[in-house]
């Protein structure tokens, strides 16, 4: 028996730090590494195909997306700053704690999400409560494509072509009562499908289901969008299939995903991140370069765009994420530094 061996390095077997596929295939990988050499580190994704170790399984399991007929709506395009974020980045860099807290968890864990059948309920202070099924969601309104800036509270941003319809259309259909002041939203609660909901710790401490809210005026602004797709196809689960909110002048966490309930209310609804850390995440969460997050600056953002690791750019963040002309009127008289 070799005592030292047991004590010193039994903890770190090769197989602990290396996934099985890589471990068994290590000679080939090392050969390829040598062959590709340092060039691979500098060129972006040009060589990605060389390491095709993991790809086959994943493609088989990927969620099936369908093309959506839509009209292009370009009314807000002049407010965009920057080129479109490539689709593969939009659908593989996601915060969706229901599927795990790391950016790669949603794309890995969400592919099995069942979106059909689906039920979206519109209720509360409305004249006609509605219950929409999967087909209703996709066909109730003519779909339009809108390209919006998307700014995460974590100081990264994208430009995304969404497909969907204005939330106002949906609310008008249900008929908002005169005493209504706010709109509350709720994500699907299904721990069987959403591993992050199984306990509070695997889902980052959020008390599920995830909830969000808007003022009625915010909800009725044409800019506030219900997205059912991106890049011309239905949403993948990691981006909030089958239907999600997109509020482009607010931080991304306001744009709640995989919605099952929209409730028009006569009081201010709760919102999940605000409940978890009120000092860091406010109810309004309007993009504001002058109000830093306690742990990082919001004055600039890392734009996720075409190209490799080093081609990203840090650009200044604009008030209301560039949509100030359209929405700043909603907050007249409100101190946005206090009401962040």
């Amino acid at each position: 028996m070799n005592i030292i061996k047991k004590a010193a390095w039994d903890k770190f077997k090769d197989c602990d730090v290396t996934p099985e596929e890589v471990y068994h295939d290590r000679r080939r990988i090392l050969k390829q590494m040598g062959f590709v050499g340092a060039g691979a580190l500098l060129s972006s994704q040009a060589n990605a195909g060389v390491f095709d170790l993991f790809s086959s399984e994943e493609e088989k399991a990927a969620f099936a997306r369908v093309a959506l007929p839509h009209a292009k709506q370009t009314e807000y395009d002049h407010l965009l700053y920057g080129e479109l974020t490539p689709e593969n980045k939009v659908i593989s860099h996601n915060n969706f704690y229901e599927f795990g807290t790391s950016k790669t968890d949603p794309v890995e864990n969400a592919q099995e999400l069942k979106v059909n059948p689906w039920q979206l309920v519109i209720e509360g202070e409305v004249d006609t409560p509605l219950t929409l099924d999967y087909d209703d969601i996709l066909k109730m309104f003519p779909l339009e494509e809108r390209i919006y800036n998307f700014r995460c509270v974590e100081a990264w941003s994208m430009v995304i072509p969404w497909v969907g319809f204005s939330l106002a259309n949906l609310l008008k259909k249900a008929g908002v009562k005169s005493n209504a002041t706010h709109v509350a939203f709720e994500t699907l609660y299904d721990p069987e499908q959403m591993p992050g909901q199984k306990n509070r710790y695997s889902g980052g401490g959020i008390n599920y289901p995830y909830v969000e809210g808007l003022t009625l005026a915010e909800a009725m602004t044409d800019l506030t969008f219900m997205s059912v797709g991106l890049y011309g196809k239905t949403l993948p689960p990691q981006n909030g299939a089958p239907i999600r909110l997109v509020v482009p002048w607010k931080y991304g966490f306001k744009s709640i995903k995989s919605i099952v309930r929209i409730r028009v209310t006569d009081n201010k609804p709760k919102s999940s991140w605000n409940l978890l850390a009120a000092s860091e995440y406010g109810f309004y969460a309007n993009v504001n370069p002058e109000v830093d997050h306690p742990r990082w600056s919001q004055a600039s953002e890392r734009r996720i765009a075409e190209g490799g690791l080093f081609s990203a750019k840090r650009i200044p963040t604009l008030p209301f994420n560039g949509y100030g002309d359209l929405v700043s009127g909603l907050y007249e008289g409100l101190d946005l530094k206090r009401n962040f």
Binding site: I3, A48, K103, T104
Partner: protein
């Protein structure tokens, strides 16, 4: 027991060090593979920063494990691997900061210094890194000889670093606190072992009411 007299020889130490280098470098190769297979997400920046940070913390835990293991199994020679593992802590921490500065901040010097000073959690991490750097640069034999007794005093800073890094980690996360807490526990245990063996603790226990208490003669 047959192996009671087993002693680490310089020859086996050589191979042990080689193995430690492999363990130190493999995760980096793995990270490169992940990133270029698009397995670290569409925007792997945060992934890389987190991965290298946790790598530094893992190496730190490994460093702190060496002397308790050496003591337990009476393998004094094992202590000679501490420098190697300690330098991996420094290497991973350097990659961590380099990734933050180059990939996240995109070489914005102003923003870098502003963030370090403005954000307490980054300041804590930066303090730990400066201490680590001091340890790394004084880790050469010649410097060690020159510094004499002061060398050990300086290198006791590793215990401070071991507290600062998990604080930095805990403070930096948005809400997922399990991982940092596990590191707190590990560091706590490893420092606890030392505290128990330290002279300070002995004095404390002698002074205290529990005078008859058995004191671990080792340390």
């Amino acid at each position: 027991m047959k192996n009671k007299q087993f002693r680490l020889t310089s020859r086996s130490l050589f191979w042990l060090k080689g193995l430690m280098h492999c363990i130190g470098l493999l995760p980096i190769i793995y990270l490169v593979l992940l990133v270029f297979n698009d397995k670290a997400g569409g925007d792997p920046v945060q992934y890389i920063i987190h991965y290298t940070g946790v790598g530094a913390l893992n190496a730190l835990i490994a460093t702190l494990l060496i002397s308790p293991i050496a003591r337990k199994f009476k393998q004094g020679m094992l202590l000679q691997t501490r420098r190697l593992v300690g330098l991996y802590v420094f290497a991973y921490a350097s990659l961590h900061i380099l990734a933050f500065f180059s990939l996240d901040l995109l070489f914005a010097w102003g923003l870098f210094f502003e963030e370090v000073l403005k954000r307490p959690y980054i300041l804590v991490g930066a303090a730990a890194y400066l201490l680590l750097a001091a340890l790394a640069f004084t880790s050469f034999k010649a410097v060690m000889r020159k510094m004499g007794r002061r060398w050990q005093k300086l290198h006791n800073a590793i215990y401070l670093i071991a507290l600062l890094i998990p604080i930095h980690f805990y403070w930096s996360v948005k809400s997922e606190i399990i991982e940092p807490i596990l590191y707190f526990i590990m560091v706590g245990l490893l420092l606890g072992i030392r505290l128990k063996a330290s002279r300070w603790w002995k004095q404390l226990s002698v002074k205290s009411k529990f005078k008859g208490r058995e004191i671990n003669p080792e340390s």
